[in-house]
């Protein structure tokens, strides 16, 4: 199978890889780069556990080919904490009990980041719509919504 040399900027650092045409972005991140924070829950774009930001836009990395990320920027959950300080969405999820098993959490965090980067004061409905492509089986969503509201307030203080 043909392979391609690609360069992807992951959480700010350029990384190179030789990849098969069919390699999925999620496997590039998890298996080639060993960034296992991005999870796989369905392989069919339904659950959102694999959500990462591609040039700032949330995408489900189980249905993006690694070659499509060539020359682009990918942000994952591992890049949220800066200089030992949690990102407000991370704080919010911890503070408001927005996670239980933790499996959907990285995808939820990345979707939340994308929402808060485009909307400073999201309404509850905005938040519900933003995370409607991210399934959580544990929390019943209420605390996730509160966690995102908490993060939005924190970001506004900055």
């Amino acid at each position: 199978m043909a392979t391609h040399k690609i360069t992807v900027t992951v959480n700010g650092a350029a990384r190179e890889a030789d990849v098969e045409s069919r390699l999925l972005l999620v496997h590039l991140l998890r298996e080639s780069f060993r960034l296992t924070g991005t999870h796989i829950g369905c392989d069919t774009t339904h659950c959102g556990a694999c959500t990462v930001l591609l040039d700032g836009q949330p995408v489900k990395s189980c249905t993006v080919l690694a070659v499509q990320a060539d020359g682009r920027e990918v942000s994952t959950v591992e890049g949220l904490e800066r200089d030992g300080k949690l990102h407000p969405v991370q704080e919010g999820f911890w503070e408001k009990h927005g996670l239980q098993c933790g499996y959907c959490t990285p995808g939820m965090l990345m979707t939340s980041c994308a929402l808060l980067s485009r909307t400073k004061e999201p309404s509850e409905q905005d938040i519900r719509e933003a995370i409607s492509g991210n399934l959580c089986r544990c929390t019943g969503y209420v605390n996730i919504i509160q966690a995102i509201q908490y993060a939005a307030a924190k970001l506004r203080e900055r």
């Binding site: 959950v77 996670l99 499996y103 965090l109 519900r128 089986r137």
Partner: protein, 788 residues
């Protein structure tokens, strides 16, 4: 309840932020699929497209030619080691890989081992299987008819498709009560087949070390110790000995009952690792998960309720056909083939009851496991709460009033139910009254009258459920003979910090936090300094695992008991240090002081240091204890839920406008975590009520085998839950707790179903089966001439 400990100690009653979260919010959890070992191979599985078919041949030649494919394992391969069949937890048998025929669509047929997951998938594509389709039995009622094809031809003497017949209660006395009743209502209801669909699917990494002979299996399991013993029993004949088996359950991405059974994939991966001598990873994809892993429910219930004219319930009679798929692979306690379905008398003072269940084989995946519920309790609760509303409708009585009239009175606890359980404690009227006050029940009824006059459809549904959890007392409860105790081991270090290990395994419940709080409550060591570990069979004490809301009732209790043993020893050391009699000491969280002179005291930290540096002569050094806790009874959490729905006459869409949940789980360890458990349980209660079902067409093709068709609730459907609580401690549990993880999943579906029926009752509707989809509702509206 005010916490007894300071915020610094953080014992029971504090909403402590979770200790496990710092790793999860950084993407630093360690789930099975995150494990990557040197030289690790990948396994993928060939699955049957047919629900029932003879396997004529399996040709692996093309697959073996795919570069990177190392082996293709079939039933014939495993048969050489007598590993092609395995026992289920219910002492039935299940194929690991078939040698003769397949029994359900998506059944494992062969496994491909390759250098990476993509190549393994290529190998799966290249395996050629020649099938000869056989008649398919999908309908369990037809399966029971004489002349139906007998499915389990592997069982020599099996002449029909009945798995078991189970009954409880006094049939004759119940029939007599029915004969004397003023009113009898009857209702058929189907509790459909559903799937837990935890966001992490199942999988393992099996790692057999040929030099040491040790097998380590990293596995998505809720019950690692039981799995180790089963592996030793099943594979003892090929040389796997229990001391050489280590099961590690790392971080688990949701369990809900679906990670209790042993699936064929685990066993094949283990066999492959033993044969090849390299680590083998198997992680199923979502469709495999939904189509082949154990399902839940699938109960066809016929319920009858007898009452006096004034609404006093007198007797309950239930006949159920349970579709178990092709084998009974439920995960019930051995003596309970229908689980704890005999809790079906619910919250009511029913003097007579009789229940029977027939388990049936069909051409569907095996199971009958729980969906976030303690062994068929959801089916039981749905049945009694639904038939109670049917009775209310028949008597033209308010369903709240009917419940209030029939609740087991508070003063009758402990209460012996007609089907043999001893309910530990309860105050059912208080919970329902609180829910009614909170939601404004009387005003809602007025609003409903006004809306009906305008042609609008609004319904109010109540569910006053009682659960039965915390299995269980050893005299009745075992799995494959292993008694259902659970365990804790606590070691206090010289500097007064502790490590505590338990026989259970959290899958999101927050044990690292709540168990630490239990130890903090009992010993006064700050919860922040109690390290909790579970899930590694080489280090944790033996226990039966986490499911059926049993962790707090069993292992949590063991934690308290072990801590109390430590406190006893600490008291002796304190008496030695303070040069006084033990009888002169008083305990407050974290310290012993001398009666009457509180300035003379020793903290738990002083005592811990002394246990290693200055312990009394004749006493063993150290400060640690283990407890294997055998609960004297089960616990009986309860609650009252009220749901308000509005129905769109144009689309049939049911919208939950409000949902008030009043729960009583006894004393609470961490209020924040309890609320979180209830939130999640409510969403998983709404799911089968409105959205989820896995059905089959007449050829046994699964409908709902992907997230495209199997509708797990999203943030859009899930309402904002309104919670409240009452606190009725369990009298027999060491700290009065009852367990809470599943209450809401059990209690919510009938509240929602009752609300929908209530919205349609004036049109002559008496029952709607779940899931109550827009299509189902719209067809009813159309039939009644009110669809828009």
């Amino acid at each position: 309840m005010e916490p007894k400990t300071s915020a610094q100690i953080c014992g029971m009653g504090h909403s402590m932020k979770r200790k496990e979260d710092p790793r999860f919010i950084r993407g630093r959890g360690n789930y099975v699929d995150d494990i990557q070992l040197p030289g690790m191979l990948h396994m993928d599985i060939v699955r049957s497209p047919f629900a029932h078919a003879k396997i004529k041949s399996i040709n692996t030649d093309k697959a073996m030619k795919v570069p990177g494919v190392l082996a293709v394992i079939t039933g014939e391969t495993l048969a050489k080691y007598n590993l092609h069949w395995m026992p289920t937890l219910m002492s039935d048998t299940q194929m690991v890989l078939p040698t003769e025929k397949v029994m359900y669509q998506a059944q494992e047929v062969a496994a491909v081992i390759a250098t990476d997951r993509y190549t393994a998938a290529d190998g799966v594509e290249a395996v050629e299987v020649d099938y000869d389709p056989l008649p398919v039995v999908v309908d369990p009622f037809k399966a029971l008819q004489p002349g139906a094809p007998v499915l389990r031809t592997d069982k020599k003497d099996k002449k029909d498709n009945r798995v078991f017949h189970w009954e409880a209660g006094d049939r004759a006395a119940t029939d007599q009560a029915f004969a004397q009743a003023d009113v009898v209502v009857k209702q058929d209801m189907y509790i459909p087949r559903i799937h837990v669909a935890s966001i992490e699917t199942c999988g393992c990494v099996a790692d057999f070390d040929r030099v040491t002979g040790k097998l380590t299996v990293y596995m998505t399991t809720q019950a690692p110790h039981a799995i180790r013993t089963v592996f030793a029993l099943v594979a003892g004949h090929v040389g796997l000995s229990e001391e050489k088996i280590r099961i590690v359950s790392p971080d688990i991405g949701g369990g809900f009952g679906g990670k209790v059974p042993i699936y064929p994939g685990y066993v094949i991966a283990v066999a492959a690792s033993v044969v090849i001598g390299k680590p083998v990873k198997w992680v199923e994809d979502r469709m495999e998960n939904l189509q082949a892993d154990s399902f839940a429910r699938d109960y066809h219930i016929h319920a009858e309720l007898a009452a006096k004219k004034d609404g006093t319930m007198t007797a309950l009679k239930i006949k159920t056909v349970a579709d178990h798929g092709y084998t009974d692979a439920a995960a019930n306690p051995s003596k309970f083939p229908a689980g704890l379905f005999s809790i079906c008398t619910g919250s009511y003072d029913l003097k007579r009851a009789f229940a029977e269940v027939d388990g049936v084989y069909t051409n569907k995946p095996p199971g009958g496991i729980a969906y976030r519920c303690s062994f068929r309790v959801t089916e039981a609760a749905h049945c009694i709460e639904r038939i109670t509303d049917v009775l209310a409708q028949e008597l033209k009585m308010d369903p709240a009033e009917l419940r209030m009239k029939n609740f087991i009175p508070k003063e009758k606890f402990p209460y012996k139910s007609a089907l043999g359980w001893e309910y530990d404690s309860g105050d059912y009227p208080a919970a329902l009254q609180k829910a009614m006050d909170k939601i404004g029940y009387a005003e809602l009824r007025k609003e409903q009258v006004e809306k009906r006059a305008r042609g609008e459809l609004m319904g109010i549904g109540i569910s006053s459920f009682t659960e039965i959890v915390g299995a269980g007392p050893s005299k009745q409860f075992d799995i494959l003979g292993i008694k259902m105790f659970d365990s804790a081991e606590i070691r206090v270090h010289p500097t007064g910090k502790a490590i505590a290990r338990f026989g259970t395994k959290s899958q999101g419940q927050g044990h690292e936090t709540t168990y630490a709080q239990i130890v903090a409550e009992e010993l006064g060591i700050p919860a922040a300094h109690v390290q909790v570990e579970e899930g590694d069979t080489d280090t944790a004490p033996y226990g039966l695992g986490t499911y059926a809301s049993r962790s707090t009732p069993t292992a949590g209790a063991a934690g308290a008991m072990a801590a109390r043993k430590i406190r006893e020893k600490a008291k002796k050391i304190a008496a030695h240090l303070l040069e006084c009699s033990e009888d002169d000491l008083v305990w407050e969280p974290g310290k012993f002081s001398v009666k009457g002179s509180p300035q003379r005291s020793k903290t738990i930290q002083d005592i811990a240091l002394a246990a290693y540096t200055n312990h009394p002569q004749g006493m063993e050094a150290g400060l640690e204890a283990t407890s294997y806790y055998d609960p004297p009874n089960l616990t009986f959490p309860f609650g009252s839920y009220i749901c308000v729905v509005d129905i769109d006459r144009g689309t049939g869409m049911v919208k939950i406008r409000r949902f008030v949940a009043v729960d009583d789980c006894g004393n609470i360890i961490n209020p924040m975590i309890v609320d979180g458990q209830i939130h999640g349980g409510l969403a998983m209660g709404m799911a089968p009520a409105l959205l989820e079902e896995i059905s089959y067409d007449e050829d046994g093709n699964v409908q709902g085998g992907s997230f495209m068709d199997y509708l797990v609730p999203t943030s859009m459907e899930t309402p904002a839950w309104e919670l409240d609580k009452t606190v009725t401690p369990s009298p027999h549990h060491p700290f009065g707790a009852k367990g809470v993880g599943e209450s809401a999943t059990v209690g919510a579906p009938p509240a929602i179903a009752n609300a929908v029926v209530d919205a349609l009752a004036h049109l002559g509707v008496r029952h709607v089966d779940i899931p109550i989809t827009p299509e189902k509702v719209w067809n009813i509206l159309k039939e009644k001439g009110v669809a828009e």
